[in-house]
C-alpha cells in the first residue's frame, strides 16, 4: 500500500491540519509516513502545499516525484491546478469549489473549472457550503479531508481517532464538529 498525496491551498486555509490528521491516523495504523510542509514566508497568504506520503514499507524521499502523485487534495480550485506536474496518469484531483481571491489577476472561474473538468479523475465539492451548513465554515478543510477519505487507505475510525487526539485540547464540541465535518465531506462525494 502506498499513497502519495499533495495537499494544496493558500497560507492560513488549514492544510497543515489536514496533514496532521492524516499523518496521525497513518502512524496509529502502523504505516510509514513522510510529510514535507511549507513553513515561513508563503504562509502569509501565499501558495502553500504539503507532500504527504504514506506506505506500508519505508519511504525514501520526503518529496513526491513528479508524475507519481495519487491525489491532489486542494482547498482552493486554482491551487489544485498548480501541482498538476506531480499528478500521476490515473491520479485524482479533489478540490473545493470555493475560490480565494487575494490577487488581481485571478483567472475567470469558468475557465478554472473547465480546466479542472478536463482531467479524467476529478471531484469538485462545495466544502464551504457544507461546512457552513453543519455549523462553521472553519471546518471546510476537514470536509475536504472527508471527501478524500475513502481513497486514503485509512479507516474511518483511525481518522476520527486522530481528530479526537488533535482537537481534544479545544474541547468536546470542537471534536464533534470536526467529526461531523469529516462525515459530511465523505457523504458529499463518492469517488
Amino acid at each position: 500500500m502506498k499513497r502519495d498525496i499533495i495537499l494544496a491551498g493558500v497560507g492560513g486555509q488549514g492544510i497543515l491540519s489536514i496533514a496532521a490528521v492524516i499523518g496521525m491516523a497513518a502512524v496509529e495504523s502502523g504505516l510509514y509516513l513522510k510529510q514535507a510542509e511549507v513553513h515561513g514566508m508563503s504562509q502569509r497568504g501565499g501558495a502553500v502545499q504539503s507532500h504527504l506520503r504514506i506506505a506500508d514499507s519505508p519511504i525514501a524521499s520526503d518529496l513526491i516525484p513528479e508524475g507519481n502523485c495519487d491525489m491532489i487534495l486542494s482547498v482552493e480550485p486554482m491551487e489544485a491546478l498548480r501541482y498538476l506536474p506531480f499528478l500521476a496518469k490515473e491520479g485524482w484531483v479533489v478540490t473545493s469549489s470555493r475560490t480565494f481571491k487575494n490577487i488581481d489577476d485571478y483567472p475567470p472561474e469558468d475557465d478554472l473549472f473547465a480546466e479542472i473538468r478536463k482531467l479524467q479523475n476529478h471531484v469538485i465539492i462545495d466544502a464551504f457550503a457544507i461546512a457552513r451548513e453543519i455549523g462553521s465554515q472553519k471546518v471546510s478543510n476537514i470536509v475536504m479531508l472527508g471527501a478524500a477519505s475513502d481513497y486514503l487507505g485509512l479507516t474511518q475510525e483511525s481518522l476520527e481517532g486522530a481528530l479526537d487526539t488533535l482537537f481534544r485540547r479545544k474541547g468536546e464540541d470542537v471534536v464533534m464538529l470536526n467529526i461531523k465535518a469529516l462525515k459530511a465531506g465523505k457523504n458529499g462525494v463518492k469517488i
Partner: protein, 534 residues
C-alpha cells in the same frame, strides 16, 4: 510511547534534550525556528529548567552557547544559514578555543530560497573553521546525530555543526526515542587559559586544531555515518550527501538502479575512502543538497582521468534544491514528460495581512515622500519587506538584517536626502541599534522608521526583545528626544501620521519614528487563548 511523529527540526530538539542538554540559544529564522520552539514547549525541558529563551541575534546566541559550554554543560545553538554570517566571528573562534561541555551548532540551509535572501551552503563554514559537520538524511538520523554530535564535541573538545536543509527541517516522519541521559554538572575547563585567544595561546590552539583533522576524517569512517553501500552496476558510482541520499534511494527503488553508493553524513570526509570509491567505478555522480562542495574538492583544478559529474559540469543545475526528478535525469532514468501547469494559473506570492500595521505605516510614508520622488527607502528583513510588492512598491532595498539603517546612512552621506530606513522591531534589536549609533555619532540626516508590531512576525510571532524598550533604547543611543516620534499606524490617524513623517523628513539630523501597533496575527492568537481560558 517512544515513537513520535516529528519534524526534522523537532527531532533535533528532542535529540538534544535526550542527550542531556542544559540550554538552547537561538534567534528565529526559517527553517530553523521549530527546534527552539519545540524545546520551549517541552514539559520535560521546562521541568529541567533547560534554558530556552530567544537571544537578540545569532552572534549573542553563539557566544552564550559557548559560555554554557565553558561552564561544562551541553548547549545547542540554532540558526538559519544567513544567521551564521552574523555569528561567524564567534563560531570560527569557538573552533579555536574549543569547548568544555558539548556544543552543537545547528544551521538550517534553505536551497531554492523558499524564505531567504540566498542559498549559501553552511558546510563551507564547517570547512573554514575546521570543525566537524554532520549532515543527516532522515528525521531519525537527525535525532541520533544530535546525540552523536554532543559526544563528538566532548570527545574532541570542539564545537560540532549539524547542517540540515529545508526539506528535512520541515518534513515529518516517525522517530524512535532512545534512553535519555543526565545533564553535565558545572565544571570549569581544566585549563583556565583555554579560552584566551591572545596570539601566543591562539597559535598553540590553532596547531592543536590542525593536528586533530586526521582524526576527524577517521572518525567519519568509524562512526558509520560515511559508508559504502555495495552495488553491482559500477558504470556509475553515486556519492550522496545528506538529504540527497533519500532521492537516490527513491529513484533507485523505482527504476531498479543498483549502483555502488557512498553515503556521506559527516565531514571532513576521509580522502582514503573517496579514493577507494572512485577507483571502483567508471564515473562518479555527486549528489549534494546545496553547493558542489565535495564535488569541487574531488574535481580540483587539475585535469584527471576520473569522470566526476554533478553540479559543476551541468549534469545537475548549479542552483536550487535537488528533487527526485533531477536525480532521475542525472542518472539517465527516462522521465515521462510531466503534465503542465495550465496557463491560467497565476502566481500567488505572500502578502501583508489585511489590517497589518505595516500597511498604514507605508501609506503615511508613501504620501510624505511624494514631493521627493522615488528611490530613497532602504528597508530590511521581515513581514514589512512585503512592502516591496504591489500595490505598495514602497521600498528599495532588502539585503541583510540591520542594513536598512546603515545603508540609509551611507546614501545620506553620499547626498541622498531625505534618506529613509524602514526596519522591524525585532530586526532593530537584532542588528539595527549599532548602525543607529553610527548615525547619531555623526548626526547624519536619516529618518529611521521602526515599524513595531511587537513581535518577530515573519518567522511566526516569537517574542521580540524590542517590545516596550524602543524609546529607551533610542534615547540611550543618543537620539534627541524631540526626534523620537511615536505614531499609531491606523487608517483613522493617516493625516497626522503623514504630517509627522513629513516633518521628520525635513529634519537635518537623526530622527526615529516608532510606528507601534500589535501584529494582527499575534493579537488574534492572544484573544483566542484568553477566550479559551475564561
Amino acid at each position: 510511547m517512544s515513537r513520535f511523529v516529528l519534524l526534522g527540526d523537532e527531532a533535533i530538539g528532542q535529540g538534544a534534550l535526550d542527550a542531556g542538554l542544559s540550554g538552547v540559544y537561538a534567534y528565529p529564522g526559517t527553517p530553523s525556528t521549530e527546534i527552539t520552539e519545540y524545546i520551549q514547549k517541552s514539559k520535560e525541558a521546562q521541568e529541567r529548567k533547560v534554558h530556552a529563551q530567544w537571544s537578540a541575534n545569532e552572534k549573542t546566541a553563539m557566544e552564550a552557547g559557548l559560555g554554557m559550554s565553558y561552564a561544562g554543560k551541553r548547549a545547542l545553538v540554532c540558526m538559519k544559514h544567513v544567521g551564521l554570517n552574523v555569528a561567524a566571528d564567534a563560531f570560527i573562534n569557538a573552533g579555536m578555543t574549543g569547548v568544555n561541555g558539548g556544543l552543537v551548532v545547528v544551521v538550517a540551509d534553505d536551497p531554492s530560497m523558499h524564505s531567504s535572501q540566498n542559498e549559501q551552503d553552511s558546510r563551507f563554514y564547517g570547512k573554514f573553521s575546521m570543525v566537524p559537520v554532520l549532515e543527516p538524511s532522515t528525521q531519525q538520523e537527525a535525532y541520533e546525530m544530535t546525540r552523536y554530535g554532543f559526544d563528538l564535541s566532548e570527545k574532541y573538545a570542539l564545537p560540532v555543526m549539524l547542517r540540515i536543509t529545508t526539506r528535512l527541517a520541515h518534513s515529518r516522519s516517525s522517530v524512535e526515542r532512545k534512553a535519555n541521559r543526565e545533564e553535565n554538572p558545572v565544571k570549569f575547563p581544566s585549563d583556565l587559559k583555554q579560552f584566551i585567544l591572545l596570539p601566543a595561546n591562539a597559535r598553540k590552539r590553532y596547531k592543536m586544531l590542525l593536528s586533530t583533522q586526521d582524526k576527524l576524517e577517521q572518525e567519519g569512517e568509524n562512526s558509520g555515518l560515511n559508508r559504502l553501500e555495495e552495488g553491482k552496476d559500477s558504470s556509475t558510482g553515486v556519492i550522496a550527501c545528506g538529504l540527497a541520499y533519500n532521492y537516490y534511494r527513491e529513484v533507485a527503488g523505482e527504476a531498479g538502479l543498483n549502483h555502488p553508493v557512498l553515503k556521506i553524513s559527516q565531514y571532513p570526509v576521509s580522502a582514503k575512502m573517496l579514493n577507494q570509491f572512485v577507483q571502483q567505478v567508471d564515473r562518479v555522480v555527486v549528489l549534494e543538497e546545496g553547493a558542489p562542495l565535495l564535488e569541487e574538492s574531488l574535481v580540483g583544478v587539475l585535469e584527471n582521468s576520473y569522470r566526476i559529474n554533478g553540479r559543476l559540469d551541468g549534469l545537475l543545475p548549479r542552483d536550487g534544491e535537488l528533487t527526485p526528478s533531477l536525480v532521475k535525469l542525472a542518472l539517465g532514468v527516462t522521465v515521462e514528460p510531466a503534465r503542465e501547469v495550465p496557463g491560467i494559473v497565476k502566481n500567488r506570492p505572500p502578502a501583508l495581512c489585511k489590517g497589518c500595521s505595516h500597511i498604514d505605516m507605508y501609506n503615511a510614508l508613501g504620501e510624505a515622500l511624494e514631493p521627493y520622488g522615488p528611490g530613497r527607502v532602504f528597508s530590511d528583513i521581515g513581514c514589512y519587506t512585503l512592502g516591496a510588492l504591489p500595490p505598495y512598491n514602497a521600498i528599495n532595498s532588502c539585503v541583510d538584517m540591520g542594513a536598512s539603517v546603515t545603508m540609509a546612512k551611507g546614501a545620506s552621506d553620499a547626498g541622498i536626502r531625505p534618506s529613509v530606513a524602514v526596519i522591524g522591531d525585532s530586526t532593530f534589536t537584532h542588528s539595527g541599534m549599532t548602525g543607529l549609533l553610527d548615525a547619531v555619532v555623526e548626526k547624519t540626516p536619516v529618518t529611521v522608521i521602526i515599524s513595531d508590531n511587537s513581535t518577530t512576525g515573519m518567522t511566526g510571532g516569537q517574542q521580540s526583545h524590542a517590545t516596550n524598550r524602543l524609546v529607551d533604547i533610542c534615547r540611550g543611543l543618543g537620539v534627541e528626544k524631540e526626534h523620537i516620534r511615536e505614531m499609531n499606524p491606523l487608517r483613522k490617524h493617516h493625516e497626522e501620521n503623514r504630517k509627522m513623517v513629513s516633518e521628520e523628513l525635513e529634519y537635518n539630523g537623526v530622527s526615529v519614528i516608532i510606528a507601534q501597533r500589535e501584529c494582527i496575527q499575534t493579537a488574534s492568537r492572544r484573544l483566542k487563548s484568553q477566550k479559551s481560558k475564561v
